[in-house]
Each structure stands twice: as structure tokens, then as C-alpha cells.
């Protein structure tokens, strides 16, 4: 799903010549040490950053060549769970999730229905009117997840979506992502959660210092098990 990629933001070499391709409908874990370049790799997919060298192809389109107006349209097809959540601090949980539908100008009724469903799925219906600042860390993370999945994206990019969640809730979220994946959505997820990766037995890409050092179908979190 994308070709050659290399990035050097500033003087820091975050990605050093990464080649990776993901098929439509895949479920991929990106693992690796802190600072290995996982988030940077993911940001190339939703065009949060552009590579210094190399090309990124998503759905057959060259992401780098997108014009300003096209970027916004392009991003609407990708649901992203950011590592730092990126919730609008002055809007309620409901409004935050609804925002992803408002930008595609969906009918009000459809918005209401889909947002309720998404909040139900992450177990936060009772917090719909809270502001992000009034939520527990794990609750904020689940709002971010709800926003990413609410408009049935083609690709879900999730950066450490269970970092602030207890094992039970994490399992629920993983079940949710599996479910979405079964319905054809590509899921690319960066994580440090060994238990989850080992239990799921999906494709695992391990990174180190900006390079892909391992790429296994049905892999485990660790190199040698």
C-alpha cells in the first residue's frame, strides 16, 4: 500500500529508508523502542508529515502530491487515534466525535445516530456532555478512538491506543478494532502492549532507529520467543 519512504525531520533521522507495504484489509502492529520512529511512520500515512525522500502511496494515490484542498478530503477517509489524543478542549465529548462527521457535512440525524453508536462501543455514552478536561486519561483515549472509527474510514491508524487503558478495557478496544478489520478496514497500530500483540497473532513490524528490523505474519511482540 505504500512504497519507499525516508524521513529526516530537522537533523534527526526519524526514519532511515523504510520500505513497507500493507494490503487492503490487513491488521498490522508496529512495535519498537521509544523513539524508534513508529509515530513518524504513521504520520506519513495520514499526511501529518511529508517524507524528506521517498514516496508514500495510499490507495494508489501519491500522498505527497496531494494539493492543499485534497489533503482534507483525503484525511477524512483515514481514522487516526493520536498518541496525545488531540481532542478539541472546548467541545464536549459528543461534539468531538461528531466533528469528524460534520466535516463531511453529514445529515444531523445520521451524525446523532453514528456518534451514539461509537460512544456506546467505547463505553462512554454516559460522558457525552463532559469536556475532555473533565475526563480520566483512559476516557480521553476512548473518545479519540470513537472519533477515529465514527465515519467508517478505509484505514484506521492508531498510535498507542491502549496506553492509558486497563487490560479489560484494552481487550474491549482490541475486539472492536478486530471487528472493524473483519469488515474490510485496514488497521495499522503502533503499540507497546506485549500481551495484546502476543494474543492477537497478527502481522508485526518491528522498528529500531528508523529502520524496519523485523516483519512477520502472525508475529509476537518479541524477537525471540
Amino acid at each position: 500500500m505504500y512504497g519507499v519512504t525516508k524521513v529526516y525531520p530537522g537533523d534527526v533521522v526519524a526514519l532511515a529508508g523504510v520500505d513497507l507495504s500493507v494490503e487492503k484489509g490487513d491488521f498490522v502492529f508496529i512495535v519498537g523502542q521509544s523513539g524508534a520512529g513508529k509515530s513518524t511512520l504513521l504520520s506519513l500515512i495520514y499526511r501529518g508529515a511529508t517524507p524528506t525522500k521517498g514516496q508514500v502511496l495510499v490507495g494508489g494515490r501519491n500522498v505527497i502530491r496531494l494539493k492543499r484542498r485534497e489533503v482534507a478530503v483525503f484525511r477524512r477517509k483515514i481514522g487516526v487515534v493520536y498518541q496525545d489524543f488531540k481532542l478539541l478542549p472546548e467541545r464536549s465529548v459528543y461534539e468531538n466525535v461528531a466533528f469528524a462527521l460534520e466535516v463531511i457535512e453529514a445529515p444531523q440525524k445520521e451524525i446523532a445516530r453514528k456518534v451514539s453508536a461509537a460512544l456506546d462501543m467505547v463505553g462512554l455514552s454516559h460522558k457525552a456532555n463532559s469536556l475532555p478536561g473533565q475526563l480520566a486519561g483512559g476516557e480521553q483515549q476512548r473518545v479519540a478512538i470513537a472519533r477515529a472509527i465514527v465515519n467508517d474510514p478505509l484505514i484506521v491508524v492508531a498510535d498507542e491506543p491502549t496506553g492509558n487503558l486497563d487490560p479489560d478495557t484494552s481487550a474491549g478496544i482490541m475486539a472492536l478494532l478486530s471487528d472493524i478489520n473483519c469488515r474490510g478496514t485496514t488497521v495499522i497500530m503502533a503499540t507497546h502492549n506485549q500481551l495484546i500483540v502476543d494474543r492477537m497473532r497478527k502481522r508485526v513490524v518491528e522498528m529500531e532507529n528508523g529502520r524496519v528490523v523485523r516483519d512477520e505474519r502472525q508475529g509476537m511482540y518479541c524477537h525471540e520467543v
Binding site: 492543499r68 478530503v73 484525511r75 478539541l88 472546548e90 466535516v103
Partner: protein, 295 residues
């Protein structure tokens, strides 16, 4: 954009307007519009007053005692033909004496009764359109045949013309200053409020909001702020001007302040429209610039 979206975004703009941070911008706009209005009103009034005063400037052209009727008529014609001259009135020797009598007052007039011969010369009273052209016109007339001497209107009027010119220049300079300063402050204030919401804008872009979608609430907010600010300011000016002009009419009636309620109302509406434009353009430009930087 669909109409529904516009409604949603507008209601968001109104919500955001209610937050305290927008108050600054509204206040700045109020202050700027107030300052501009005050200066404009002063300038308009000074101009009108100045025009009235200048219209009254006269030259008195004294004729030699031996001027013939024919020469007098020729002279009147030549004076009339000078551009800038608006009125020429002949004052005969007899009329001049009468005028002097009136000037000196009743208690002194009696002693002219037994005057052996009238010593006063005949003259033309020449009105000129613009006071500053008076000396040029005087120079031209002085060279004509039959002219004995030329006198200007009172010194004070000429001085006033100079004073008014000074006032205009100062008013103009201050107005330019206020305008430049005002637009800088308004644009900077909006920039600051965009800066305070930079995270919000970044997040919106990442979620796939188009530029127009992000711009719109800011533009509406700017529009509302502009209308609000300019509206408050012109309401204050409108009421204050009525009060002041009433008071001035009582305290210094000869100033003849310009009061034309229709004109004022139209000006106020113009000011509000101006505020709306400033608000829209200011916020749109700030946000747009911010979006560009973000890439």
C-alpha cells in the same frame, strides 16, 4: 458548503464570541471607530466653518477721487473678470460717509452733519471665493488704472484661515495615525486570538476539515465583532454628537455645527459596514496566514 453546515458553524462562532477573549477585539474596534468618528466629525465641522469664514473675506478697492464714470465702469468689469472674484459692489463717496458714521456710532455721527466737503473716497467691495487667493487678486487689481489703494478684511480673519489650516493638517495626521494604528491593533488582536486557538485549528485540519470549514467560524466571529464594535461606537457617537451639538448651539451659536440627522444616520450605518468588513477581512487574513504556515 451546505446551508445546514453554515448554521452549525455560525452557532459555534456565536458560542465562541461569548467567551471573554473576544472582548478585547470588540473594545479595540469600539475605540478605533470612536477615535476615527470624533476626528472625522471635527474635521467636517472645521471644513464647513472654514468655508463659511473664507466666503466672507473682502477686499476694499479705493478709487482715486478723479476717476471718471467710464473708467469706473471699465474697472468694475475688469475686476469681475478675475477668476476667484464672486461679488463686486460699488460704494460711492456718499455711501462711504454713511458707513463711517454707522461705524462710529450715533453719539459721534452728528459731527459729520456740518462737514464742509466729503473727504472719503469711493470704493469697490470685492468678495473673493478663497481667502488664500486674496493677495494674488489684490496684486492684479492694484496695477489697474484708477485704483488708489487696496485694504484687506480684518487681520484676524486671515489669521483664522492659517489656524484652520493647521487644525486640518493635525486632524488629518491624527486620523491617518489612528487608521494605521487601529488596523494594526485589530489584526494583531485577532492574530493573538488565533494563536490562542492554534491547537484547535491544527486538530481540525488533522480531522479533515477544509480551509473554508475552519475559516468560516472565525470569519463569522470577526463579522459579529466588527458589527458589534462599530455599532456600539457609532451609537455612542450618535448620541454624544446630538448632545454636544445641542450644547454647542447654546454655548457658541455662531459655530453653526453641522447637524443633519439623515446624514449622520447614513454615516453611522457606513461605519458599521466598515466595522463588519474590517472584522471579516482581519480574521480571515489572520487565520489564512496561520493555515498557510501550518502547511
Amino acid at each position: 458548503m451546505k446551508f445546514r453546515t453554515i448554521r452549525t458553524l455560525t452557532s459555534q462562532a456565536i458560542k465562541s464570541l461569548k467567551r471573554t477573549t473576544s472582548l478585547t477585539t470588540v473594545l479595540v474596534i469600539v475605540a478605533c471607530v470612536l477615535a476615527l468618528s470624533v476626528f472625522t466629525l471635527i474635521a467636517v465641522n472645521l471644513t464647513v466653518m472654514g468655508q463659511r469664514m473664507q466666503a466672507g473675506v473682502e477686499l476694499r478697492v479705493y478709487l482715486k477721487d478723479d476717476t471718471t464714470e467710464a473708467l469706473k465702469n471699465a474697472l468694475e468689469k475688469s475686476i469681475r473678470s478675475i477668476s476667484g472674484v464672486t461679488k463686486v459692489v460699488y460704494v460711492s463717496k456718499a455711501e462711504a460717509l454713511e458707513r463711517l458714521g454707522a461705524q462710529l456710532g450715533d453719539e459721534n455721527a452728528f459731527f459729520f452733519d456740518d462737514m464742509p466737503n466729503n473727504p472719503l473716497p469711493a470704493s469697490f467691495d470685492v468678495s473673493v471665493r478663497r481667502a488664500d487667493a486674496a493677495s494674488d487678486i489684490a496684486d492684479r487689481i492694484r496695477k489697474m488704472q484708477g485704483v488708489d489703494e487696496i485694504r484687506y478684511g480684518p487681520e484676524l480673519v486671515r489669521n483664522l484661515v492659517g489656524a484652520l489650516r493647521v487644525m486640518w493638517v493635525i486632524t488629518g495626521a491624527v486620523a491617518v495615525l489612528v487608521l494605521v494604528g487601529a488596523s494594526m491593533i485589530v489584526s494583531n488582536t485577532i492574530k493573538l486570538s488565533v494563536f490562542a486557538r492554534r491547537r484547535e485549528i491544527e486538530i481540525m485540519r488533522l480531522v479533515g476539515a477544509s480551509d473554508v470549514f475552519i475559516l468560516f467560524p472565525f470569519v463569522v466571529e470577526g463579522l459579529l465583532m466588527g458589527i458589534l464594535g462599530a455599532g456600539i461606537a457609532s451609537a455612542i457617537v450618535f448620541v454624544a454628537y446630538w448632545a454636544v451639538s445641542d450644547w454647542v448651539r447654546a454655548a457658541a451659536p455662531f459655530l453653526q455645527i453641522v447637524v443633519d440627522s439623515e446624514w449622520l444616520l447614513r454615516a453611522a450605518l457606513g461605519v458599521v459596514a466598515f466595522g463588519a468588513v474590517v472584522g471579516i477581512v482581519g480574521s480571515a487574513m489572520s487565520v489564512r496566514k496561520h493555515l498557510r504556515v501550518q502547511g
